[in-house]
């Protein structure tokens, strides 16, 4: 199986701060990958480097498709931003349409499918800023879905969303994987990472482990990944220091 994302000796720095150091990974196509790590471990930086937002200080990252969709960590949306939910979802097609090409029937169909998949058809004419946090995240995920991408990079998509939205997004991630797309999800949820994804990438600036959950979600690997801040509660391993959801 060919790799859809390859990082070779990838190092990214922000000033004096090393965000990623000598990362080597080959992400196989058609898989779902949980990217695990504490805040500041380089999860967001890995995604940012993959879409060209962060330049490598050394090494390189190569993406084997031009159809990449990226959901950044949740940010505050200006409540007065002049766009309806349908406008926001349609923006997902603009990357393919470039500057002025008009939306085709296929583009409109992809937008409609994305809105249905996230169950936001009834919100189409509402202003994005008027929605609740969960509804807003659905709209932003629908924008990602509308891109019809081969590689989807979702940076903590479950932060601040309600349970129904979380369930919807999980089903969507499974559906994308079943369709042969590759989905990488940055998450802090150790239990879900071990259970719901094909592969787990344990990251703490360097790659601690990358492979099937059975090999990577061990107490030893997770202790190294989270610098010892994991605990076993019942049968589950949980992260005990997840204090800064804005960092990553």
């Amino acid at each position: 199986m060919s790799a859809i994302l390859t990082a070779h000796d990838l190092t990214v720095r922000y000033g004096d701060v090393v965000a990623l150091e000598a990362v080597d990974i080959d992400v196989p196509r058609g898989t779902s990958i949980a990217v695990l790590g504490p805040n500041g471990s380089g999860k967001s930086t890995l995604f940012a480097a993959a879409v060209g937002l962060s330049a490598p200080a050394a090494g390189q990252v190569t993406v084997g498709t031009d159809r990449v969709a990226y959901l950044p960590q949740q940010v505050a949306v200006d409540p007065m931003f002049p766009a309806t939910v349908r406008d926001v979802v349609a923006m997902g097609r603009w990357g393919a349409l470039r500057w002025r090409r008009r939306m085709s029937g296929r583009d409109r169909e992809l937008v409609a499918q994305a809105m249905s998949a996230l169950d936001i058809d009834h919100l189409a004419r509402r202003r994005l800023g008027d929605l609740s946090g969960g509804q807003r995240q659905r709209a932003l995920l629908a924008q990602v879905a509308a891109q019809d991408a081969e590689l989807l990079l979702l940076d903590e998509p479950f932060t601040g969303v309600d349970r129904p939205t979380e369930d919807t997004v999980r089903k969507l991630i499974d559906a994308w994987r079943d369709e042969g797309r590759t989905v990488m999800v940055a998450t802090h949820d150790l239990a879900r990472a071990a259970r719901d994804y094909d592969l787990v990438l344990a990251l703490n600036r360097r790659v601690i482990a990358f492979g099937p959950a059975a090999e990577t979600c061990t107490e030893e690997v997770l202790a190294a990944t989270f610098a010892g801040h994991v605990a076993r509660v019942g049968g589950l391993l949980i992260e005990t220091e997840h204090r800064h959801p804005g960092a990553g």
């Binding site: 879409v51 990449v68 002049p82 923006m91």
Partner: protein
């Protein structure tokens, strides 16, 4: 009533003034939507005042320390000053970890002070500082109306062509980049359009008041609409109507024309904010 509305516009200078003010209104009302949407009012204010050193250099180069300056050179100098102000703010922001408003304010005061220093080299302040600060809408010659129309058309054309990248960088720079938009180039293009709008606007309503046309009509339109195309249309309409209505106020009450135009635009915002149902 008919004579109240139309008699003032029998005079050529009022016709030219109204036409120029309407063109500036459409321009500032449209570009201003991106200023309001991106929360860059301070940058717009900074650019408006940053034109001063450019104006001063143009005056010194074309008129020496006395005499009549070349108006085209003043427009070019103003544009250069405005772009330099915005570019300087971006450089300070990139090289330091200061907050954006601090970086912009540092450049703002630097350019303003530099402008005053340069102007003070001109004998007896020969440059009409009042017209720089408050505009000169009642003495707009035909060629300046044509130039305003041309520049407004170019800006609106660029805005039409780059509409999608402009919206994407305004919505979220990271998403824009992931969709293949060159964020820095797009923001540079937006900044240049803002500088052109400011330069065209300051000749009509002055550097102190051009911000009024960039902010008040889009702010009113934002309260009335929920999509950007309609916001731009309503904003351009309010700003364009403010021109002749402001001139009417100025004519009948014998008050400053540029300031009257801006007062009408701000009044449109106030009425909208009061009458719109509370949220």
């Amino acid at each position: 009533m008919e004579s109240f509305l139309f008699d003032p516009f029998q005079a050529d200078f009022m016709q030219n003034g109204a036409l120029a003010a309407m063109l500036v209104g459409v321009l500032c009302g449209t570009v201003g939507c991106f200023v309001v949407m991106r929360g860059t009012a301070l940058l717009a204010e900074s650019v408006a005042h940053g034109v001063l050193p450019g104006v001063a250099v143009a005056v010194l180069l074309t008129a020496g320390t006395s005499g009549d300056p070349d108006k085209a050179a003043i427009l070019c100098g103003a544009l250069a000053g405005g772009v330099l102000t915005a570019a300087g703010s971006a450089v300070i922001l990139r090289r330091t970890r200061l907050r954006e408003d601090t970086a912009i304010a540092v450049m703002f005061v630097f350019m303003l002070a530099l402008g005053v220093v340069l102007i003070s080299r001109v004998d007896g302040f020969a440059v009409d500082l009042t017209s720089f600060l408050f505009g000169d809408v009642l003495s707009v010659p035909d060629w300046e109306v044509a130039l305003t129309a041309g520049l407004a058309a170019v800006v609106l054309l660029v805005m039409w062509a780059l509409y999608r990248p402009f919206v994407l960088v305004s919505f979220d720079r990271r998403r824009a980049a992931s969709l293949g938009v060159s964020v820095e180039r797009t923001e540079l293009a937006l900044m240049i359009l803002l500088a052109v709008a400011v330069v065209v606007g300051f000749t009509i309503v002055g550097a102190l008041l051009v911000l009024g046309l960039l902010i008040a009509p889009p702010a009113a339109a934002a309260l009335l609409t929920k999509r950007l195309p309609s916001m731009m249309a309503v904003s351009a309409l309010i700003a364009a109507a403010s021109g002749p209505l402001g001139l009417l106020v100025s004519w009948h009450f014998e008050v400053a024309a540029g300031a009257s135009i801006v007062l009408v635009a701000v009044a449109a915002f106030a009425v909208t904010a009061v009458l719109r149902p509370a949220r």
